[in-house]
Structures are given as C-alpha cells and as structure tokens.
Symmetry: D3
Subunit: 330 residues, 6 copies
C-alpha cells in the first residue's frame, strides 16, 4: 500500500438541492471539499494510505470537516486546529444552457492563516511515496506559499515523487505577490504537472505560441519534470460535455479515449478525481494505462454527487477497460 501526502485548503461546500437556484432555496446540502483533499480522498477510497495536511477552526464545523476526511479513509493526524474561519464555497448546480455558479467565501480561513512553523514536514513526509499540491495553495497567502515550498523542499530531499496541479485562478493571488514570483520555484521541485497552456503562461508570466512550445520549454527548464498532463473539455452545456486527456512525456504522448458525458450529475471535483486517478495510475501502471485510468476516474466523477469520487477501483478499471455499459450489477 503506497503512502501519499496531500496539502490544501478544505471548504464547507453549500449547494441548493437539485436544480434550485440560490434565490429559491430553503436548504443547502453540506459537503466538504478542496482540490487536493479530493485527490487524496479518491486515493484513500481505493485503499491507499493517504494523509492530508490542512487547518480548520477549532469549533464543531472544523471538527466535522476532519471527520469527513476520516470517513473516506484519510489520515487526519497532521490536521491543525488553529485560528481563523472555515472557508466556504456556495455552489449552484447548472442545468441545460444555464451554468453552474460558485460564490467563494474563503478569505480569512484557518488554512490561509496557518503558521508554517507548526508543520514538521520531516515527520509528515516520512515514508511517503508521493506528494501532491496545487496552485491554489500558494495563491491563498504568503504563509501558504511558504508552506508549499517547505513541503516541496523536504520532498525533494527525501526523494518523494511530486505532482502539482498548477490550476491558475485569477480571483486568487490577492496577497501582493504575482504567480511568477512564486510558482517557478515550486515547479522546479515537481515531477508531474497537470496544466494547460494558460496555466504555464500565468504561472511563468510568459507568452507561448502553442502547447508544443510550452512542452519543449517546460522539459527544458524544469529538470525534474517527467510528465505534463492536460485534459481537454468541450462544454456543450451544463448537462453534456466531451472530455479526453493526454500524458506528455518529453518525447512521447499517451492519449486517453474521449468520453461523451451526458446527464452530468456533479461537475465539481472532476479534475481532482482525474488527478487522483493519475497518481494511482503512475504508481501502479504503465503510462498508457495510467492516463486511461485517470480519465476513467475523471469521467466517473461526473456521475457522483459531492466533491469526492466515491467509486471502487473495480468500477474505474471497468470503465477504463471499456466494459462499463450501464447494465445493472446484481
């Protein structure tokens, strides 16, 4: 059983039931989610030994969030209970031609304010096979950027494999730094980058003519880089998307099949499920199988409510193998 460590903020996710709009609702469904924890949750559900590092306020909502992580099998030993509030995001599910909408309310969270000194990365990463971070964390606060860097430096020292979902978000980076002041050093310490051209452009503060140019630049510049991973999504409507992905090694490209995703149940967390599938795949499979497994995990997530992929290894494998036909399993 491989040991994986993930780092990142977890928010309370509040969403109106069914297709209701914010204006209409009289109740909100409660989930907890955060990009990196979602990745860890998928892996833990498949039986991996996953520890997540984050911080919650020391009250019942924070304790409840920690309980939800344990529920899916995540080790919460390194979760901090510290000053600050619980970050929240309000999610309205779209339908048909109407988009899903997210209202973020995460400023001042315990995680954003977490003191880097309280985390002992030597201990946390002890025995770890893989560490996963995302570009959301260094975008939250200087503390969070510092924490990410510390983690990556210890990971490098210990020889832990590192994946990073660059995930540039324009409405973050409010604390006085721009991405290109922070991200390049973090990318240097990363082996697998999940990112498209726009992410590279924003993180490096440079323009590129094509993904081909990005690719050659990246493998040139980032010595540890083994793979760039990119998904391609065509959004026909909130209810129907086409999705595929590819894994780019320096010289070789491994493409997944494309999925027609109609009747979408929950669009959120699908990239995280993909990332979880990718880590599982790269740890346990060959590259071609890995990208198919990752894409199947990402596709499957569209059918599961909540932030987290609750699907067995067998279900994902069957879909990756093209054997899932929607017949009832008795």
């Amino acid at each position: 059983m491989k040991k994986i460590v993930t780092l990142g903020e977890i928010m309370l996710r509040l969403s109106p039931p069914g297709n209701q709009r914010f204006f209409q609702t009289t109740s909100l469904n409660v989930e907890f989610g955060g990009s990196e924890a979602n990745v860890g949750a998928a892996l833990a559900y498949w039986g991996m030994d996953v520890a997540h590092v984050t911080a919650f306020p020391d009250h019942e909502l924070g304790r409840s969030a920690a309980g939800k992580l344990r529920n899916v099998g995540i080790d919460t030993r390194f979760v901090q209970f510290s000053p600050g509030r619980m970050g929240i995001y309000f999610l309205e599910h779209g339908a048909m031609q109407r988009s899903s909408q997210i209202i973020y309310d995460r400023a001042g969270s315990s995680f954003a304010q977490l003191d880097p000194k309280v985390l002992n990365w030597e201990e946390i990463l002890d025995g770890a096979d893989w560490f996963h971070w995302s570009g959301i964390t260094p975008a939250l606060s200087q503390n969070c950027a510092d924490i990410t860097l510390q983690a990556l430096e210890v990971a490098a020292k210990k020889g832990v494999k590192v994946s990073g979902d660059l995930n540039y978000r324009s409405n973050l980076w409010q604390y006085g730094k721009s991405p290109d002041e922070i991200m390049p050093r973090l990318m240097e310490l990363t082996h697998v980058m999940i990112a498209g051209s726009r992410d590279f452009k924003q993180c490096l503060g440079e323009d590129f003519k094509s993904f081909a140019e990005v690719r050659s630049m990246a493998f040139e510049r980032f010595k540890r880089l083994e793979y760039i991973v990119k998904t391609d999504r065509i959004s026909h409507s909130s209810s129907s998307n086409t999705l595929s992905a590819a894994l780019y090694a320096k010289k070789k490209t491994f493409s997944s099949r494309a999925y027609e995703l109609t009747h979408i149940v929950d669009r959120v967390g699908t990239g995280d499920a993909f990332a979880g599938g990718l880590i599982y795949g790269l740890l346990e499979m060959k590259p071609k199988e890995a990208i198919e497994f990752a894409m199947a995990a990402g596709a499957m997530k569209h059918s599961v409510p909540g932030d987290v992929l609750i699907c067995s290894l067998q279900e994902v494998k069957e879909l990756a193998d093209g054997e899932a036909t929607g017949k009832i399993k008795r």
Copy 2:
C-alpha cells in the same frame, strides 16, 4: 427603470417532487404561478418596476401568495383580498415518453369573482410604460372579461403600450360567452399579440388557411397591432424539445435561433418567460435583438424549477449572444 403593469390570476401550484406521480407522492412542492404574473416576475427580477393586479382570498394562503410576488420584486399595492377561494393547479412533471399532467382546480377563485368596481385603472396605470394581459383572464368569468376591457381602455387612453398573450384554452370559457364575443374588442386595443394560427382562429371564430393569411388579416383588422409573435416548439419527449420563435411586423420578420432543449427541468412558465423577455426586448432593444433575448429567456426557463424565470439579465443576454456554454462560473 420602465414601469410595467400585469393582470391575471395566480394559483397555488402543487407538484410531486422529482419524477413522482400523483398516485405515489406523500408531499407536494409549493409554488405560486399564473401566466401574467410569471411575465411580471421575470421583468421584476431584471430590475423593472412591475405591479401586478390580482385578487386573493383573505387568509394565510392568500397572504403567502402576495408575499411570493413581493419576494421577486413585484409591487403588490393593487392586490385585492376578496371573497372566493385560492385557485390551485396540480402539476405532475413528465419524464421521457411520459407527459406532464396538470389538474386544474381553479373554479370559484377570488380573482374570477373579483368585482370590476374595486379596481381604479386610472391610478394603476398612472405612469406605466407597458400593460400585459392574456387570453386566460377573459376566459375565466364575465367579471374578468370586464376587468380586462376596462384596463385596456384606460391603457389606450393613456397611451400605454399593450401586449396580449392570446393563449386560447379550450377547458376555460365556461361562463356562457364564446371567445369571439369577447376577444376581438380586446385585440383591437393591443399592440403586440403572442399567438399562433389556432389562437387567432379560436379568438375570432374564423378559419384561416395559413399563418400568412392570419398575418395579413391581423395587420389589416387590428389598427394598433405592431407585432405578432409566435413560438415553434417540437416536442420530442417530456425531456427534450426544440424551440424557436419569430417576431412578425407588418412587413418584416425577425427570427430567433432554434434551441435544442434536452434535460428539461421544468416545462411550465416557459412561454411566460418568453413573453417577459419579449417585453424587455421591445422596451430596450431593436426587434432582432428583442426576439433573440425573448427566446433566450424562454429557453433558460426550462432549466429553472417553478413557474418563474429566476435568471439575471446577464445570464439571459449571454445565452442570447451565444456565449453560454455551461462552463462553471466562479
């Protein structure tokens, strides 16, 4: 901010949750709806100054209905609390090849019994830019037909622009008059008619060979008429329709794009959302933009539960402009 007045009955709408059938359900979702108030609600939600004229019984269900109108921003100053019951309609949502079903239970409502003398249309229409009525109102009772005529005559005197959704319903007109005894005079006082060939035929008690014939007859006969507006719906199943619309001036035709509406959430009130969009469009845009905006509003309503279009101006405009792709908005 334009001032709009709408007139019409509002019913308690009771529908089994999800896809349940009447026979199965143990609870009913509560909404309030009525064709003309739905039109007003869409306009009020977009920031227009809308007053609705109707009547409710003087008990808590009536007060609750008035509260729902205020909730979306409608001015209820002219709502009457008067003898009679609360009209009800029971709505079972269809799915796939199974049709939606409506059981009307509206006889004896406060609105149908409303005394025309209690309404002071000089005051109600003071400063109004637009008045909207539908063919449902004169079909309910002689009182309601009289009220509609009074309103239209005052509107004509004051130079208020008038739209009418002819909306012939064969299960109404139970009070001893046929449509052709009542509707022609109301149509004479109307500038924008939402109607298809069948509506014209029933309202006028005449046969027409084609919509072309209807069109030339109508612009000939009704001197105030500026536009006929017609939607074309192809119903593949309860879950999937194709929908488009056109705005016919005397000489010119403005056609909207066609929408493929799969994964329909709520079929009811889509024509009212269209009419609301039309009024907004004709007040604020050129004809071609107006019909696109109206059709986008109508299309969007299929994704929103309830009778009323709860969608921002920006959402409708993006769809009208072809920019809505169902991507998550963060």
Copy 3:
C-alpha cells in the same frame, strides 16, 4: 374484468435518494417490489382483478408490504403471515457510465420458507383467467419450487392460461437443485414463456446455437407453448438504452417498434411492466397489438420511480399508438 393470479416473493426495496451512492446516503427510500407482484400491480392499476400469493413476516414491515399491494388494487386475501424475515434488496441508482447496483439480502425470507400445505390452489385459482409465475420462485427453495409446481398443476387442470418469466439468476439456486432438475416440468405447464436463449440454456441445461434453434426446440418439446417473448435491450449507459421486443408464435413473429430511452428515471421493474403489458395484451388484443402494448408498458416504466408501473391504460395505449410526444396534458 379478467381475473389474474400471480405468485412470488416481495422484498423491501431500499434505495439512496437521487444519484447518491450507498457510501454517501443518510436515508433510504422505501418501496416494496418483486417481479411477479410488479406484474400484478400493473394489471391491477389498469383495473384487472388481480390476486397475489406470497408470504410476509407477521410484524409491521410485513403488514406494510401487504398494505402496499392493496394500495395499487391487488387482492391480498391469499397473503400468508408466517415465520421468517422480510427479504430486502438495496438498490443504488446508476447514472451516466456508472451502473446501478443491487445488494440482495433475501435469504431466510418468509416466502422462501413458506409451507406448501397452507396454500389451497383450488380456491386461489377458482375463476382465474391467467396465472403468472417467474423462474425466481423455484430458484429460492425446495418449498418454493414445490409451490410453483402445485400451482401450475392446478392451473392446468382448471384450464387457466399460464405465463412464466424464466428469468435465470445465477446468484440464486443455492438450495441444492440445479435449474434443469426443476424448470422443465414447470415449462411444460406454461403457455407463454418470456425468455431469451440464455434462459432456455440454463433452465434446460443444454446448449443451443441460435435463438432459431431454441425456438424450434421449444415449440417441439413444450406442447402447451403458444408464445415465446423476448426483449432486446442495448445499454448505452445507465441513463440511455434502446429497447424492443418480439412475440414468437410457432410460425409467426410479431415485432414491436424500438424505443430510444434516454433520461432513464428507474431501470428496475421494466421487464415486469412489459410482462404485465403482455398479459393484458394477450387477454384483450391481437398479437401485434399485444406486443406493441407490452413494449409501450415496458418503455413507460423507465420514467416511473419504484418497482411498479403506475401508468393508466390510456397513457400506455397512446404510447403504443405512437401518439405520446411529451406535450403537457391539461
């Protein structure tokens, strides 16, 4: 009004609401279902005089199950309250590429343990026009196999028409007998068999090269056999299937149209609705109409939550006649 008797186990059906997974749910929707009772329920809802024979534990869950049968119009005079537990099946609704899953928990049920001596088939089948059984019953226990045989022998004596849904289930037949020790005798007493090649193969313990071979063998071997009925389902995903059926007389074949079933609401009980439609059709219509009616009933069931087809005769007939377009019925 025709009189129909059905025989079979009824289980408590527990399913997470909406698209939730077993792992996520905090409540379970309660239905009761069983293949043969589902057949009877559809027929009773259409006004047929249906009695169902089964057994429940003598506690409130058993009484509740009996109440549910009465609710749809089934006569429960012959329902036994006897030792054993309430069989349960847990159903997780699939969506998109994710399959529906059923966890059976039916061992030790009152029905499986029912003493054949308590049932007086002379009385039960008195005046009956039709008797329906399925291959699930003889697969549960020796008692159940004995009960089925007794019923069929009395039916034969009384000249009651018999349909059997062979429905081979590999996870049953745990009591020491194989299907080919039991089923052939039951098939000899049956006039209408709902079955595909695989069912014949398993029930007879023989291999066949094609359905054509099965068909000629069957009409040769089973002297009472009038029709074999077979459905063809192509499962694109949990949300979308293509479905058609055919009725095979010795010499003639009657094929139904094919239905595109997208936006599936509830996949369970669709074969039972089809069987109910078939019995109705064969009692009241010509063969071609019968198979169209049966297929329409089966198709319609995909839009109705629960195990049972709650649809009026008129709704099914309209679909069978190709007149159902999903327009709102007011």
Copy 4:
C-alpha cells in the same frame, strides 16, 4: 370478523411539515382524511371488515385517495368516481400557545354533489353489523342529507346497529337547511350518539340547561338510543391536553380514566380514533371496557401523524389496561 360500513367525505389533507406556518412553507405533506373514513380506517387496521362509501373525482388525485383507503384495509367497492372536485383541507400544526389552523376548501366536491340514486344501500349494507355516520355529511348538501337518510332507513330495516357522531360545525350547513330540519330524523334512526350538549342544542334547535337535561330528553325522545358518548378535553396548549370520556346509558354511566397528553404529535382525527375504538368496544366488549378502549384509542392517536390511527389492537389494549409505560419494545 364483524362487518362495518361507514359513509362520508374524504378530503386531501395538506399540511406544512413540522412546525412551519402556511406563510413559510415550500412543501405540503399529503394525507387523505375524513371523519367517518378515519373511523373505518382504525377498525380496518384492527382487522375488521370495513367498507367505506364516498365519491371522488375521476382523476389521479381521486384514484390516489381510493388507494389510500385500500392501503389501510378498507373495501372500496362502493366508492364512486363522479363529477366534482376533490375536497381539500389545509392544516397548519400548532405548537405551544399557538393554535392549529384549518383552512377548508371543500365546496363543490364530488361527494357533496353525489347523486343519491347511484348508491344501492340494500347491497351495501347486506350482512353489515354496524353503520357509522356523522353530522358533517348532512351538513354538506341536500344530496348528502338524502343519502344519509336513505342509508339509515335501510339500516333500520335490516337491523344494522347505527352510530352517529353529531359533530355540529357552524361553518357548514350552507345549502339552505338548518340542522334542526334534518338531524332529528337521522337521530331517531341512531343507536349510539357521540355528542355533547352543544351538539344536541344545535341539532335540535333547542336550549338545555345541563347535560343531565340533555340526557333525559334524548333517551325519552329517541327510542332507538342506547348510548350517548361524550369526551371532555381540557386544552392547556396545542402541545398539552387532558382528555377523558364517558358512556351514558339511560341509567348507567361508564367513565374512562383521564389521560395527560403532553408532547402532542397530531391533534386531528383523535375524535375519530375514539369513535373507532368505541364501535370496536361495543361490538366486542362490555361497556366499561368499551369506553376505556375507546379512550385509549383516542389518546393513542395524538402520537400518530396523519388523520388515521395506525395502532395495533394490542397497543391500544395495553394502554387501556394501563400497561403502556413508553418502554422500548424489542
């Protein structure tokens, strides 16, 4: 098993969940209830052979109501599907110092318009041991008054025992007759009257100084009268009542114990449960036991949601015997 026939209107009961007010609610819980059917339902649940006579509109809400009667075991053979609407009552549950509120919306129901000629009382009362009616029925319409009288005359002829719950309601009797024009004849044909002084006063149009005077008058005037039954309720608040009852024979009085009813779950239908208990008691027990059983049934109903007493014979008997202590039954 005794055979009992009940007669009366059944309404759709719509109530906001929990303690919500009409103004607040977004859904309504669905039950069906009517005084006399509630009586029949309690008796059917205890295993009596009960047929209820009523009328419903011929649409899905009417069919659903009939299904609910069958669900609890009532024979619906004599239920008519005839023109008119489904009567409705809206019930808001009180709490603490706040009263429960009922908004009736029953005018124009199928039952109120039922043609007396369609009911064949000779057939309906064939073999019956008991017939139960209430003062609500003759208060609805002349047709309903006529139907009640016809039923009572046939019952008298056949020697069927009759109970009547006089139940004077001031907001009924809208059809041009006053109670004293109708009720006296019905009372003459009744053996057991559930009524207090106010009911006698209103039904007879006479004043009485005391219940003692009522009692001596009644046994004098109504020759068939065997018992007057009266409950005494002290309402401390919506959540807490004290309740007792007495059975008055001409010379003898049988009093029940008093119940302290705190934490009331559902106040509606408690008198009907009492009446059901009374009929059961008078059919199966001695007077003293009967009144204790009736009172226990009435008390128990306060703990059961809905209009109908869903309690086993054993539960009621244990309470009547003073053995119910609220310990968990395993």
Copy 5:
C-alpha cells in the same frame, strides 16, 4: 398605518434540521435574520409600513436576502449592495439539557464595511414615526457606529421616536473602541431602552448595585428617556423557559404576566419579536396593554421556526388577552 425605520445587519442563518448536531448534519436550513430586521419583520407582517436599512454583497445570496425582507412586507428601497461578504451565523438547536449553539461568521460583512456617506438619513426618516436600533450595530465597526449616530441625530432633529435594544455582546466590540466610548451618546438620543442591569453596566462602564439604582440613574442622566424595558427569563432547559417582562416609566412600572414556555420550537428572535410587539404597543396602546402585547409577541415567537415572528395581530392579541388555549381554529 405608522411608518417605522429599522437599521442593522442581516445574516444568512444556517441550521441543521430538527435536533441534529453540526457534526451530524448533511443539510442546513436557510433563513435570514438580524435583530433589528426581525423587529421590522414582525411589524411589517402586522401591516405597518416598515423600511429596513442594511447592506448586502452584490451577488445572488445578497439579492436573496433582500427578497426575503420584501417577502414579509419590508420596504427594501434603502438596502445597499456594496463590497464585503454576507455575514453568516450557524445555529444548532438545543434540546432538553443540551444548549443551542451559535457559531458567528460575520467579520468583513458588507454592512460592517458600509460607507456612512451613502445613506441619506433625511430621506430615509422622512415621515417616519419610529426608529429602532440595537447595540449590535455600533459594536460591529466604526462605520456602523457612525451610521447609528447619524441616524439618531437626524431622528432627534425630525422628532422621530427612537427605541434601542442595548443588547451588549461581549464577543463583538473588536474594532478598538469600548462600549462606553460610543454608547452613552447613542443612549442620549433614545426614548425607549430595552436593557437589563448588565447592559447598562457594560454600555456605561459603570457599576450599579441594583436595577433600582440603574433606573434612577438612567432617568436622571438620559433626558429623552421615557421607558426602560426589561425581560426576565428563567431557563429550565432548552425546551422549557419561564418568561415575563416589565415596562419602567420614571415613576410607574407595568408588568406583564409570566408565560410557561414548554415544547420550545425556536428560541432565536424571541427578544426581537418582543421588541416588535413593544413598538406596536407603544404606538397603538396604553402602557399596560403594550407590555402585555409585547410579551405575547415574544412568547408566541418560541413556537415559530426561523428568526422572524410570523403571527397575525389577532393571534398575538388573543394570547395577550389570555384567550389562546391551543384549540384548533377551523
């Protein structure tokens, strides 16, 4: 119809359904509430002309909050949509010996950051009969303290009567001022103070030996003061309280009856309902009646879910008159 203006923050109120704890819940009921708006809502529901002054973020949650104010009849003309977040409070309902718990998450709200310059109090208070504020507002931020003072100075100039609920909250006052730097000036401009000894002590930064001393000091020091109003609550458990109140003029004391409040439905907003009742009473009644009406309003609120008293004038008056016995109203 009297015109009343209220000022204060409104928060999104999120509470687990029923008796669930934060740790357990999978959904949160949505209400909106704030002390002063709750006061205004009660008055608006009784038909008063109430305008509330507050600020919301310019997104759908803010618009929804404004819609809820309109729903109960509050005029939202002066509501600002301005930068900042939506304040939230999480409420867990207690039961029995377990306390209700509130987690506040209100820092950084639009209201706390509202620029005093955007409010034109001359216009807002034009024609007003009464202005109501609470000690929560000046405790939120310097801006809010400034806004309160501006409002009170204009009210004084215009001769508008002013009530203030001093309501000292120790977990507020985080912006660098202590209550005694701010509150005394606000109290000078207030005619009716709802406050106990502890509130006076904290607001003035002085110690008092008894309420008698507080009272004589207050009438001495605050020249506009007409009444001090004080409630006395004995909390037996979360489910059961005893509550009474008194109105202290300079020389005279008017005491209400005491209420035994068992079976409490919602404890929150009861003081606000009391304050609403007090304003209504002082505007429309004599002092003794006013304090009884206020106390009845406060008592009634314990039976209504949500922050707001949804009770008709008649219901409150009946309770104040001692006529509410919890009998069903039909």
Copy 6:
C-alpha cells in the same frame, strides 16, 4: 491519551423520520449502531484513542459502516470484512404513551459468523488501558462467545482493565447455549460490571432476593470485580423519563443525581453513552465524579439523534457540574 478497545456487532439502523410509524413511512433514516461501538464512539469523540473490533460484509454497506466508525474517530484497523450479511435493526421512535419499537434482523451477520482465528488479540490489546465488552456478543453465536473469552483472557494476561455491560437479552441466546454456561467465566475476567439484579440472575442462572444480596454475592464470587454499576430508569412515557445511577464498590456506594428527561429526542444508545462516560470517568476521575459524569453523558444522549453520543467533553462536564441551563451558547 488513553487507549481503549471495544468489541461487538454493528448493525444498520433504519428508522422512519420523525414520529412516523413503520406502516406509514416512505423513507428510512440510516445510522449505524451497536452497543459496544456506541461506547467507543463517545470515547473517541472525547479524544480517546479507541479501536473497535467487529466484522462487516465485504460490500458497500459494510464499507459504509466502517467509514462511519472512522468518522467519529474510531480506529478501524482491526475491522474484518468477511462472509455473512449486514445485521439490521428497524427502529420506530415512540412518542407520548406509544412505545418505541425495534424489529431485529441480525441473524447470519458477518460478526456472528466471524472466525475467532482471524483476530490476534495480542496485537489488538497491545498498549491498551481498557477493554469493553457486552453480554450481547456471547449471546449471538458460539464463535462470538469464543472471541469474547479469548479477548478477556489476553486482557487479563496483559493487565488491561475490563468493563462488561451484562445486558441480558431474552430474544438472543438462540445457538444452543444458555447464559449460565458462558457468562460466569467472562464475568470472572471483568473489573467493572454494568448490570442490574435481573442481569445477574439470568447470567448466573440463580435467584436473588435483593440487589444487596446480588452485590455481596458478586464481590465474593468475582475476585477481579471492582465496581457494579446500575442505572434506575422510571419510564413515564416515551417522551419523559426519570433517570439516575449508582456505582457500587464492595463497601461504598456513589450515587448520581437524578435527571428529569422530558422532550426525549432519541432513547436508543443512552445506556451506551452512560457506559462511555463511566469508562472515561473511571480512567480520569474519582468515583463520585465518575458516576456523575457517566450519568450526565447518559442524560445528554437523550437529546442527540442516532445511536451515538455526539457531545463534547465540556458539554458533558457542564451538565455533570449542574451548570447546563439550556441557555444559548454564542
């Protein structure tokens, strides 16, 4: 942080929402519970290091049950996934004079069939401070009796303190042994027995005249015995109980205060919460404090839905200290 090990079966708990009866419900709330795991859950929620030993079927319901244990903080390292079904209990909540009812459906569970050889008690109890068992486990099957004995013998060898809740249940012990063949040896290895006279009588197969006699016998016979603990419950109704407890050392008795428990929310698991409190108390406090803490934990559980006490240490301590008055905590 003390380390505690608990052993026992966990069942799926299915209960109708609110006050609904089994006959009425259309959904069942899902919890997981089992006496000993409930004890462990309370301790884990207070921050103790708790491992629970049990077995689940290897399907999604089993995995969900394990997830629920982790959710409250229980270590599931020793949970087995093995053949058998998921035990179920159906719980109907009583109200007022109506009792709660439990229908057990636990025969054939994975735990009852668990092979004693798969558990390595040397490893499980390594470093443990306390082991807790109950009389339910040896009553399920010979395997379970053997497992309990093995655990106790290893605990004795390792000097782990042992508590046992004797908890005689007459509807268990179906596997051919009587309690007095099994329990005495288990009791010999136990330091703290939670039991009343009836439990001792049934477990030992002997009669005792009084609890005094039981007490002196027990301390005489069971050499390891340190405390007998006994609760006294007076059940006034399902909604109202009086509860107290006492801790009996050989010579000394420590009695708790008595609690009036009105408005009971959930009666199940209250003894387990008490046992959890007792273990915590005996590990961390003096005997008098321990029994008060235990009783407070037991009392508090009546206010929390589900099987498990979700209450913080502070909440229980405040109640034990008499400081819980039901005031809102902000």
